[in-house]
């Protein structure tokens, strides 16, 4: 039992180290944004930006609920919460990739287009992989893989999902709110 707890603690530390490496990746994109856009930003759909942000924050809440539920052995609540989280993740992707990418800003629109699509594209890739991860733990949960005592897979998935949320917490103002809007 002690050996298993030690293994979980080491794996948990490894996951956080992975996040630190991801911080460098997303931090580089943010520094590119500040270097190339300065105190300006492209004129984007503010309502859509706020909506997708609200969706992602709400999805993080349901992910916490899923983790809390399995921690207390509430399997049905766990499954429902994972499904809602995955659905909200898909809704976020539809909002960004389906609607925002179909707007007036194109990848070929100079520094505004290239930086916007690089930032949202890499983030959307992480959201898509997070949705796959969530659906996987939901499937494993249905097969009885997790219990109140053993659910590290759920914890790993949850912190990955929250990390994606943290990245968007910085990307949303950088793309939609900081600086003065310019017509591209």
């Amino acid at each position: 039992m002690t050996a298993r707890v030690g293994a979980v603690e080491r794996t948990r530390a490894g996951i956080w180290l992975f996040f630190i490496s991801e911080v460098f990746l997303f931090g580089a994109l943010l520094s590119i944004r500040f270097n190339l856009w300065g105190n300006t930003r492209p004129d984007l759909d503010q309502q859509l930006g706020l909506l997708v942000t609200a969706i992602l924050l709400a999805s993080s809440f349901f992910m916490v609920l899923a983790e809390t539920a399995i921690d207390h052995g509430r399997r049905v609540l766990f499954l429902l919460s994972t499904l809602v989280t995955a659905a909200l993740g898909i809704a976020f992707l539809v909002g960004v990739v389906g609607f925002e990418w179909g707007g007036h800003l194109q990848p070929t629109d100079g520094v505004y287009g290239s930086v916007f699509f690089a930032m949202t594209g890499l983030h959307a890739l992480h959201v898509a992989s997070g949705v796959v991860f969530i659906l996987y733990i939901g499937l494993m949960g249905m097969r009885g893989r997790y219990s109140a005592d053993e659910h590290f897979g759920v914890e790993a998935c949850a912190i990955y999902w929250h990390f994606i949320d943290v990245v968007w917490v910085f990307f949303y103002p950088a793309l939609y709110l900081m600086g003065s809007a310019v017509q591209v």
């Binding site: 956080w16 930003r41 609200a54 924050l57 993080s60 943290v166 910085f170 103002p173 900081m178 003065s180």
Partner: protein
Amino acid sequence: MEGQSSRMLSEALRSVLTLLALAALTWGELQVSMQTGGSIPILLLFSIAKASLIVYFFMHVSRLWRTH
């Protein structure tokens, strides 16, 4: 069993309060953006506050140094 249910409820309530704080901060940064013309330092402070809430209350970063 009853104690476990009340512990789960208090954990869920803490998550609801965190979500409400995140919503308030998001609304706040939108207002700040409109009134200051998108002040980068102030908006960065909002982002750091929101990220701290998520890292502490949702990601449970304290598990890293708490021993079982």
